[in-house]
Structure formats: structure tokens, C-alpha cells
């Protein structure tokens, strides 16, 4: 059962551009929304995460925007670099649940 919908499936952006990846969820019990970054041949690693009590969180060039009423959240990468080329996964979980549900991933390619 797909509980977190992610788009686009792939994205190509020029260096310095701002790629945006969007995710939507249905379960209002979710209260934690992490993003994971995965490089080829490696396991995913936590990039940044947000809780629904804030509308935006920034860590370096990475920003999560959160819209609780629309049940949507997105990842923005400012001043994107070729080294940001990777697959990005959004995810969601509930406080008392040990499981994290992932979106299908977005393959991002930053052109030099």
C-alpha cells in the first residue's frame, strides 16, 4: 500500500538551479517526515527531517517545506551542485510506530 506519493520520478537540473521534489501523504497520524539521500551502490542516509508543527526547516542548502493542511511536503536544494546528483527519498512515520514508509524515490541529476 503506497502511503507516501513522491514526484517526479526523475529530474535533471542545471548547476546552480533549484530542484524541487514533492511528496504527499494520506495518513494524518504521520508526525515525522525525513528525507534520505542515496548515492549509487550505497545505502540511503538521512539528509534532513521535519515535524508537522513547523512549516519550514533549513540545513545548509537543503530546505523542507511542509503544508499540513494539504498533507504535502517538499525538498528544495539551493545552488545545486553536480555532487548533489543522487536518488532522494521522502518518508513518513508515526511516533509510536517503528516503521518508516518511503516514497518511490526521485533520481536527481545536476548538470555541470
Amino acid at each position: 500500500q503506497q502511503q507516501v506519493k513522491q514526484s517526479p520520478q526523475s529530474l535533471i537540473v542545471q548547476k546552480g538551479g533549484i530542484p524541487i521534489i514533492n511528496c504527499a501523504y494520506e495518513n494524518t497520524a504521520f508526525d515525522y517526515f525525513p528525507w534520505y539521500q542515496q548515492f549509487p551502490g550505497k545505502g540511503p542516509a538521512l539528509l534532513i527531517a521535519i515535524r508537522p508543527d513547523v512549516s519550514e526547516k533549513k540545513e545548509g542548502r537543503f530546505t523542507i517545506s511542509f503544508n499540513k493542511s494539504a498533507k504535502q511536503f517538499s525538498l528544495h536544494i539551493m545552488d545545486s551542485q553536480p555532487g548533489d546528483s543522487a536518488t532522494y527519498f521522502c518518508a513518513a512515520s508515526k511516533n509510536r510506530d517503528d516503521k518508516i514508509i518511503f516514497g518511490k524515490g526521485t533520481r536527481l541529476h545536476i548538470l555541470p
Binding site: G43, P44, A49, F89, S93, I100
Partner: protein
Amino acid sequence: SQTIHQWPATLVQPVGSPLSLECTVEGTSNPNLYWYRQAAGRGLQLLFYSVGIGQISSEVPQNLSASRPQDRQFILSSKKLLLSDSGFYLCAWSVRGARNSPLHFGNGTRLTVT
């Protein structure tokens, strides 16, 4: 510091053969342990998770099984592989009982069933 080890990194197995993938975690105690499978266009699919020795929850009915014989050891098995079992298998751990503990992944096993 905590580390997670998965092996082998790549594996080619014929249809109908058995499978055993092993994952161990170092530097932490009583972790939650997970097996995920990653297939092209399907993202990360949770297969099994465990909150303790001998405690396994299955998320997807299939040809695979999991076991946790020791606190920091998680094994993914199959008696007879199918072509559809091909994929990238990832083991992960998180801190048990911690609110929204992030997942820490290993580097995965690329399984090709021929």
C-alpha cells in the same frame, strides 16, 4: 561509533537455489533491525523488521523469511529463489524506543537471480 555490515555485496544465484544474507550491527545494543528491498521504480519496500531476538514482523507475504538469532544479527533467507527476488537488499537499524529514530542503512547486497 556504530557500524552496520552487510555481506556479500553482490550475489548471482540460479532460480530454485537457497539464499542467506547476513547483517550485523556494532556499537549499539538492542537495536530495531530492518530488511528493505529496492527495485527500480518501486522505491524502498519494507520486508521485515525486528524489535528483539526472535521477534520478526513480516510486511510483505513472499518467498523470503528473516531471523534474528542474536541481538545485533539479522538474516534474510529463502529456500528457493524466484526470478522476482532479484533486487538490491538493504539492512538497516534504528535506536529502539527513541522517538523517530532515523534509519541507518548498510551498503546493500545486489542479488541477481538467473
